[in-house]
Symmetry: C2
Subunit: 283 residues, 2 copies
């Protein structure tokens, strides 16, 4: 039956409509198997990641999502704080995957690729991924200038050979403001697009892409994402500095290996392999 | 100052003294840096592993130990139940290691080796290790007949590249009874030695060995344990069946690789590598 109502999913851009999250509408019109079928919505919360852990303990199902308009004590990787004011998309996704613990770090590569492709498709922009867990956005008025638009935090609970649960924290800068100190490296979708984005529609698109990539990864492994990831990698052929928990190492980024590790060519022409670390680009 | 009191640490065997755990005495006479310096003692608890998780959330320090005379809902690997009546040694150890998540499964190899060596030294018996997380005990009246005396459960919470905490659950069959169905594969120390063992002294010995092996592993990696592990492995040159989360595979155990994985030679003369799985011996 045709009604005169606007379709909720019709557009990614907001004109004069207010920018409010509506978890019920998100779930209802979401064509996924489990991702986002249960949404726990908070106006303000300390951390969606911690809330997701509590929900996990109470038996929340695979695909459950915790979302908040703002977080007061959000965390990024390595306990760094994460600025999460109203207007952004801050959510945590609960998974109970049939994967081995050593495969879990690859999820940050898979999900960053899913998010990059979903933002590109919905917003008609160009995104890149930065190993291991960032999504960058190009400013179309400043070609080849990329800034971080999204970060991913993967946490897990596991036995030696069995994963109990994984919680995927995502922070996407959408219509929110940014503090001055972040502006050189971080960008919002609104800033690049010059208009507000409908966060409900964006979240639907993200969850749909994330689920589809996740199912593929669980079934076929990382090798099917390997080429796309390398193509979308901002690090390709760049000189970088990588800082892991032991050392700082400079070199040229050669490629992502099929196991998700980063291969660096040092000035001494040695190949080095990194499974973790923070990467910055060198000029 | 010399006193007439017996030294608490004097003997591993109990004569007429009662078999009671005494956490205060264990901690006081324990010459370790952190392991067992804080002991949380329960007469009866659902699971020392779950109690350790709660203590972790409340900020318990590295090396904290939860011990119970009996557990009512103890778990082994993969959510299997673990029989934990009075008389055994059931404890969980909290760690906050500077290790990467992928190194954590190796802790079950390192700790099983530590426990095997400590039991050998204290009780003058012969122990073997069974990949990935069991300690077996030889019946001296039945040479080359080994049964399981201890199992280890490693659980962790981690980000992709950072471990938050690890809880090491240990169950040692000491003076306890065993249910009929376990008797073909499991044994208690009391049964093999023909006398009761002082669990306080045994726990001190285990914690001391575990800490010393742990410090060495964190500093030097698994390679320093590689030879000892292979020498103590019950699987050496045996035909085995290995069951992981995908398949059952038969073959001859060739060796433990330096990364802690198991190398199998199949009937088709193919080499296969396993990072996890349940192993049973074939005749």
């Amino acid at each position: 039956m045709q009604t005169g109502k606007r379709n909720f999913r019709d557009t990614i851009f907001l004109n004069k409509r207010p920018d409010l999250l509506n978890p019920k509408k998100i779930s209802n019109k979401l064509f996924t198997r489990t991702f986002g079928k249960n949404i726990f919505y908070f106006n303000s919360i300390d951390s969606t990641q911690d809330a997701a852990k509590k929900l996990e303990q109470n038996g929340a199902p695979e695909g459950a999502v915790v979302i908040a308009e703002e977080q007061t004590k959000a965390r990024g990787r390595g306990d760094r704080s994460w600025f999460s004011p109203k207007g952004g998309l801050w959510f945590s996704l609960l998974l109970r995957p049939s994967l081995e613990p050593k495969e879990i770090p690859l999820l940050s590569l898979v999900f960053s690729l899913a998010i990059a492709e979903a933002i590109e498709k919905e917003c008609k922009v160009i995104c890149k991924v930065k190993w291991p867990n960032d999504v960058l956005l190009e400013n179309p008025r400043l070609k080849n200038s990329f800034k971080k638009v999204c970060g991913i935090l993967i946490e897990m609970s596991a036995e030696s050979d069995k994963v109990h649960w994984v919680i995927v924290g995502c922070g996407v800068n959408v219509n929110n403001l940014l503090p001055k100190e972040l502006i050189p490296k971080v960008v919002t979708l609104k800033e690049v697009l010059g208009k507000k984005v409908n966060r409900n529609v964006l979240l639907q698109a993200l969850l749909k892409a994330m689920e589809s990539f996740y199912i593929k990864f669980v079934q076929e492994g990382f090798s099917v994402f390997y080429n796309s990831y390398n193509q979308k990698s901002i690090l390709q052929d760049k000189n970088i500095l990588i800082e892991d928990y032991k050392n700082k190492t400079e070199g040229k980024f050669l490629k992502l290996d099929s196991d998700g590790s980063l291969i660096l060519l040092t000035a001494r022409k040695e190949l080095k392999k990194f499974f973790s670390g923070d990467v910055s680009l060198h000029s």
